[in-house]
Amino acid sequence: MKIPELQGHVDGMLLAVLSDGPLHGYGMAEELRRRSGGEFDLAEGTIYPALHRLESAGLLTSRWEVVGGRRRRVYALSNSGKAAAVDRRTTWLAFRCAVDAVFGGEALEAG
């Protein structure tokens, strides 16, 4: 998938990945690739400004840990981040349902 289409969803996808537990940046990149079956192939470096932005917004916490003999910054969802992750997923599912209906020629019930 092309980068412009992915970029707007990076924050939500990072929150979704971290919903399963703390991870460092490289681990998140690998998990995004795995979950998408290789479909999402964005530049891995875009993850870090997104992580810093989410942390700045209070949705993530982070700390240094030694993982595999190397010092890495490990991120986790804050309480606000957990709520935001649920909210983003709910919003996305509603959006996907609506788009599916439009592409399928169906009309969803209002509300």
Binding site: Y26, E44, T46, Y48, H52, R53, A57, R73
Partner: protein, 150 residues
């Protein structure tokens, strides 16, 4: 001259383009370097030569200038903002209080002291002595003699 390690060169380029506080720059550089080393190791584990592994890791990571620009746009954390606004105001309040206390401690004499000093000056002034002398020269007008007294 040996060729510079491509990951070191990339990290140096990223560092030079970051316009963030020093502590943030250090953190970003450490995170990015760890990521690139992990990615290169994964390539080597797949049987790729070290030089090629590093180049592939860098290609997947993206351009340093673009990432630096994104980092430079990340807003500061609330705690940093709070420190940078609250601390100056607190410092100004403390300094103002200290200055006020110092000025108050070395303030000029109080009004009551002034009144006492002024009264003493009047008592000993030459004008009062002349006034007293004038009253004594005029018969029956001594300030110590009451009207009607013998």
């Amino acid at each position: 001259m040996p060729a510079r390690d491509p990951i070191d060169a990339y990290v140096s380029e990223l560092r030079s383009e970051l316009r963030v506080p020093r502590w943030r720059r250090r953190r970003i550089v450490l995170e990015v370097r760890a990521h690139l080393l992990d990615a290169a190791e994964a390539e080597r584990a797949a049987g790729v030569d070290a030089g090629v592994a590093a180049e592939r890791a860098l290609a997947r990571f993206g351009f340093a200038s673009e990432h630096a620009a994104q980092f430079n746009r990340v807003p500061r954390t609330r705690s940093v903002l709070l420190r940078r606004t609250l601390v100056p105001w607190l410092a100004a309040g403390v300094l103002t209080s200290m200055a006020t206390a110092t000025v108050w401690a070395f303030r000029p004499a109080t009004p009551a002291t002034h009144r006492e000093a002024l009264h003493a000056a009047i008592q000993h002034s030459p004008r009062r002595s002349v006034h007293a002398a004038g009253h004594a020269a005029t018969p029956g007008t001594s300030p110590t003699r009451r009207a009607g007294a013998p």
